[in-house]
């Protein structure tokens, strides 16, 4: 009974509960404990610091997204106008976030000392917007086609080397500690105290109807 007791104590102390093997009885107890804990007055109100922090993260994401696309779409124009309208306070906050020490480190591109072009998938099987996982022995990762361009990214988490899985067709999830990466390698989300490096990109090309990645020979 240690597992459920610890779980309940964590809820009562406002901490993240630990994992433990759950049986049916435990599941019922956890459910009741969550209901009761959530009924405490004021518990459904988020911390204002969290609300502002998440806003800044989203604004930064959007800004980086806009920088990647030189030709403005209608949506970007709309959002750009909205950003301009939000006022000085937000502008200052975003600049601080971008310049701050929390900015994720760049993953760079993986260039092995002695490399070969390794086939991963037929070009026809990778249409616009598609993502395919590949395992080329020394390196595993994902190839995708976006905006007419091929891209490849490492599929190994930069925290402790667990193999990432594709989630919702557009993000990469670490099964070990749940870190989340964008397909271009940026860190979207993690729970570690320090910064987590971005995923390395992998050189990719299309030759003779085949998508190939550049990896160690």
């Amino acid at each position: 009974m240690k597992g459920p007791r610890r779980f309940v104590e964590s809820l009562l102390r406002g901490r993240r509960p630990r994992r433990f093997p759950v049986d049916d009885t435990d599941a019922d107890i956890l459910r009741a404990a969550i209901e009761l804990r959530a009924a405490r007055p004021g518990s459904g109100t988020p911390n204002e610091e969290f609300v502002v922090g998440l806003y800044q993260r989203l604004a930064q994401e959007r800004r980086e997204e806009a920088e990647r696309r030189p030709v403005a779409t209608r949506r970007q124009i709309v959002l750009g106008g909205a950003l301009a309208a939000t006022g000085v306070a937000v502008g200052v906050a975003i600049d601080r976030t971008l310049a701050g020490p929390g900015a994720p480190a760049g993953g760079g591109t993986l260039i092995p000392d002695a490399g070969v072009w390794h086939p991963v998938v037929a070009a026809a099987e990778l249409p616009e917007g598609a993502v395919r996982a590949f395992d080329a022995g020394s390196v595993n990762g994902f190839v995708y086609r976006s905006g007419g361009r091929l891209r490849a990214i490492s599929g190994t988490c930069t925290h402790q080397g667990c193999r990432l899985g594709l989630e919702a067709g557009m993000r990469l999830r670490c099964p070990c500690h749940r870190a989340l990466f964008a397909l271009d390698g940026r860190v979207l989300h993690h729970r570690f105290p320090g910064p987590l490096p971005a995923l390395p990109r992998i050189a990719v090309r299309q030759a003779d109807g085949v998508v190939q990645v550049y990896i160690s020979a």
Binding site: T45, L54, Y55, E61, A85
Partner: protein, 197 residues
């Protein structure tokens, strides 16, 4: 920043939305659209957080899952979508994110989001009483000493020591009482037709 969030929170919706006829707090109407991404975020972040907290019962997880919902919807979401479409998309995403959370942490779904059931409460958070009513029913069905220990520990945030003093018993007895009370409450929640899981 606090001042900005509060001042932006309400006017961030459509510019010319009508006053609510019943005199209740202003709500966005399903067919309208949001003015911007900020409007989507500010109108929904508190609702998604509240929903997530009600499903996980602790702040660190509720914050992580709320962040994940918004990071997920950031790109595919068009600001031309109606309020109803945006909220439906947020709720569907929240359901997926919560399911993945339980799968990754405990290996089974402890709680789930029934999108249809929560949609009404989501639109009118002030009237969100389903959980409160359930907890009332559960507490009312318990023997008085069990009810007291759960009220003190869960609703009034008392420590074990404070609870022991309040109930004029030992710390050890409070632990036993709390455990038994929770087991009984779990059975009542399990058998309650309105418990969403």
């Amino acid at each position: 920043m606090r001042r900005w969030i509060q001042s932006r929170h309400k006017p961030s919706g459509p510019a010319d939305r009508p006053q609510h006829e019943t005199g209740a707090p202003l709500h966005l109407v399903q067919g309208e659209t949001y003015a911007s991404w900020e409007a989507i975020y500010l109108d929904n972040v508190h609702r998604i957080y509240r929903l997530m907290f009600s499903k996980v019962g602790n702040r660190p997880d509720a914050e992580d899952l709320t962040a994940e919902v918004f990071l997920t919807v950031l790109r595919p979401l068009r600001t031309t979508a109606t309020v109803g479409e945006v909220r439906a998309y947020l709720l569907t995403t929240a359901r997926t994110v919560l399911a993945a959370h339980w799968r990754h942490t405990l290996g089974r779904e402890i709680t789930a989001i029934d999108v249809e059931q929560v949609a009404t409460e989501y639109d009118h958070p002030a009237e969100n009483t389903r959980s409160a009513q359930l907890v009332e029913r559960v507490l009312a069905a318990l023997p008085v000493r069990y009810r007291r220990v759960l009220e003190l520990r869960f609703l009034r945030a008392c420590s074990i020591g404070e609870t022991a003093a309040e109930l004029q018993t030992s710390v050890g007895n409070v632990k036993v009482l709390q455990h038994r009370a929770l087991r009984l409450a779990a059975e009542i929640v399990r058998d309650d037709p309105d418990a969403a899981g």
